[in-house]
Amino acid sequence: MSGYEDEKSMLPYIIGAVILFFVGTAGTTYLPFYDDQMQAPNQNAELRHLSVESSEYRGREVYIREGCHTCHTMFVRPVLADSSLGPISQPADYYYDAPAMLGTKRTGADLMWVGNRWNEDWHREHLLNPQKVLPGSIMPRYDYLSDEDLEDLIAYLMSLKPSPQTEGRPVE
């Protein structure tokens, strides 16, 4: 093992590791901010741009606090598995979402446009006792939420609707 002179210095490894890391980081995390599709919000983004005082905004905070995003995606793809979920997600839809909750696991249904699917009463009953509304569901009960939290959360879920303009967007 004595013939490898270049392997007696730490520098090539440190410099190489840093440079390769930054090239990949720039490509996958920095450049996307400058893509045209990411630059401007659309009408959906405006609908999802909640004012801090609104009930919907507080509902979103409840959604985050209870970890709803660990089981529910907000991510409609142009694939058969998502064909009846509503308009396909565009980068512009998420323009104001912070944190962005596209999700990674669909233990429950996708919620991108859930506001179109049910009404307030359905959500209230479902959140208090999911098995009563959907027998066999494995969603936990949220009957421990305060009335205010519950109503805020319902307001947030009902706000997740596509804009009238988007409804004409192709689904397939």
């Binding site: 730490m10 490894y13 840093v18 598995a81 249904a109 027998p135 066999g136 936990p140 009960r141």
Partner: protein, 465 residues
């Protein structure tokens, strides 16, 4: 009374990390089992304050953070503090700082768990801990990196062995990606932010757990087989290709999603090319084993190591496959994904950590392992658990994917699909129990080794006095 035992224990920092990792392993696995039971009985433990404390959405990140940062990261750092001085033929630099970071790291993991229980989360997968804890993590990791780099810089062995390349890279990468992944989440927004989340989520596995694990494989394998490393060239190829390609993998988590086509290609092509570093590591493993396969039957730590390496191969053959558009359109978001995620973290790199601790913890204590029979039990229970977990989640995942394609996408149809998955969820819970029991066997075995060693050293003191 000033006794001779007051002299410094050179392995103290390593021991602090390894002992703590055992504790967090137990807690993290218990959370995992609770989660798997909630798939069968959603109202399991849902009474009184436990309904909130063990609410699924709150404890899922607790499970992942505990096993990733409480168990595997602490085990990794404990191993680094032992292996680096051995490879450098010197002592660990800044021993006091090293030991101090071990205590700080325990406080971090505890604080993170409490914060998540209370519902403070950033939603970034594997980085859910709040910002103030992230700052501590980065300071702690910087101190760990300082200790490691200072030790390597003052080495007595000029040649840098392949493990050290991986360790140096991992320490730099972890700090870099942890900072980028934990930028204040209100500061950024939208799809670019989600890309950053998955840049972090994928790379914390690939540029920390994987690269430290591979470094340890390169250290343990020649040690356990008493064969020299098969090929120097392969290890060079493996290191530089993983450093080049891995960092590009984030975008494939948005496959078929709202990202531009160029970015999808930029994410998928390096994912497929990852087969090169994986295969070069595995070729090196099999080459080094040449003529020593018979040792596998008697050497349980070697079994853990080789089975871990094979699980690593399987994971990394799966990964490129489901980063592609077609397979992704079926299995993305399904239970296939947790199956895939457990394979490298429990199957591959926890096995490497088990192997390391079985061999070197008794050495640090100058004693023998308490029971090799229990070690054997640990191995078979862990492998059985991993297989059951993997095959139940993979099968469920494919079935779920096709059920969605047939229209079971929300409401009662979705729930009917879930009901038909119950048998798989039951197998997954049994698998979780097997993995939990195997870990308890492991912890008990090492705890008894530690207790016995301490008793022996006390006796020696008495007889010496």
């Amino acid at each position: 009374m000033p006794s001779p035992s007051a002299k410094k224990d050179p392995y103290l920092p390593s021991k602090i990390y390894l002992y703590s990792s055992l504790f967090w392993l137990a807690i993290g696995m218990i959370y995992g089992l609770i989660l798997s039971l909630k798939f069968l009985w959603p109202n399991f433990l849902a009474f009184g304050p436990f309904q909130v404390i063990f609410q699924y959405g709150r404890i899922r990140p607790i499970h992942t953070n505990l096993v990733l940062f409480g168990w595997l990261t602490m085990a990794n750092i404990g191993a680094l503090f032992y292996v680096i001085p051995k490879l450098c033929r010197n002592q660990l630099s800044f021993e006091k700082i090293a030991a101090g970071t071990g205590i700080v790291w325990n406080i971090i993991v505890l604080a993170g768990t409490v914060a998540l229980t209370m519902g403070f989360t950033t939603t970034t997968e594997y980085a859910e801990w709040p910002l103030w804890i992230d700052v501590l993590v980065i300071l702690g990791m910087a101190a760990v990196a300082l200790v490691c780099f200072a030790t390597i810089a003052s080495r007595k062995e000029k040649q840098l062995y392949v493990s050290l390349w991986y360790f140096m890279g991992s320490l730099i990468w972890l700090i870099g990606l942890y900072i980028i992944g934990n930028l204040p989440y209100k500061l950024l927004s939208g799809v670019p932010q989600f890309l950053i989340f998955w840049f972090y989520g994928h790379n914390v596995i690939g540029l920390w757990f994987t690269t430290v694990g591979v470094g340890l494989i390169y250290y343990l394998l020649p040690y356990l087989t008493r064969n020299p490393l098969y090929s120097h060239k392969l290890s060079l190829i493996g290191f530089w290709t993983i450093a080049t390609f891995y960092v590009w993998n984030g975008p494939h988590h948005l496959q078929n999603g709202p990202i531009p086509l160029w970015l999808m290609k930029a994410g998928v092509i390096p994912s497929v090319l990852l087969i090169i570093p994986v295969w070069s590591v595995l070729a090196n493993v099999f080459g080094t084993l040449k003529g020593k396969w018979h040792a596998l039957s008697r050497n349980t730590p070697l079994k853990f190591l080789i089975v871990g390496a094979v699980f690593y191969l399987v994971t990394c053959l799966q990964g490129p496959f489901h980063s592609l558009q077609g397979p992704s359109s079926v299995i993305k978001f399904t239970d296939w994904v947790p199956g895939h995620a457990h394979l490298p973290l429990f199957g591959a790199f926890s096995f490497v950590a088990f192997s390391f601790m079985y061999v070197f913890l008794p050495k640090m204590l100058k004693t023998k392992l308490y029971s090799s029979k229990l070690m054997e039990w640990h191995f078979y229970l862990a492998v059985t658990g991993m297989f059951l977990f993997a095959f139940s989640t993979w099968s469920a995942g494919v079935l779920e994917g096709f059920a969605w394609i047939e229209g079971a996408q929300y409401g009662m149809q979705f729930v009917e699909m879930l009901i038909s998955m119950r048998p798989f969820f039951a197998i997954r819970a049994v698998a979780g129990a097997a993995m939990l029991i195997s870990s308890f066997v492991f912890i008990y075995n090492l705890a008894m080794t530690i207790i016995k060693a301490n008793r022996n050293s006390q006796n020696e003191e008495i007889s010496a006095g």
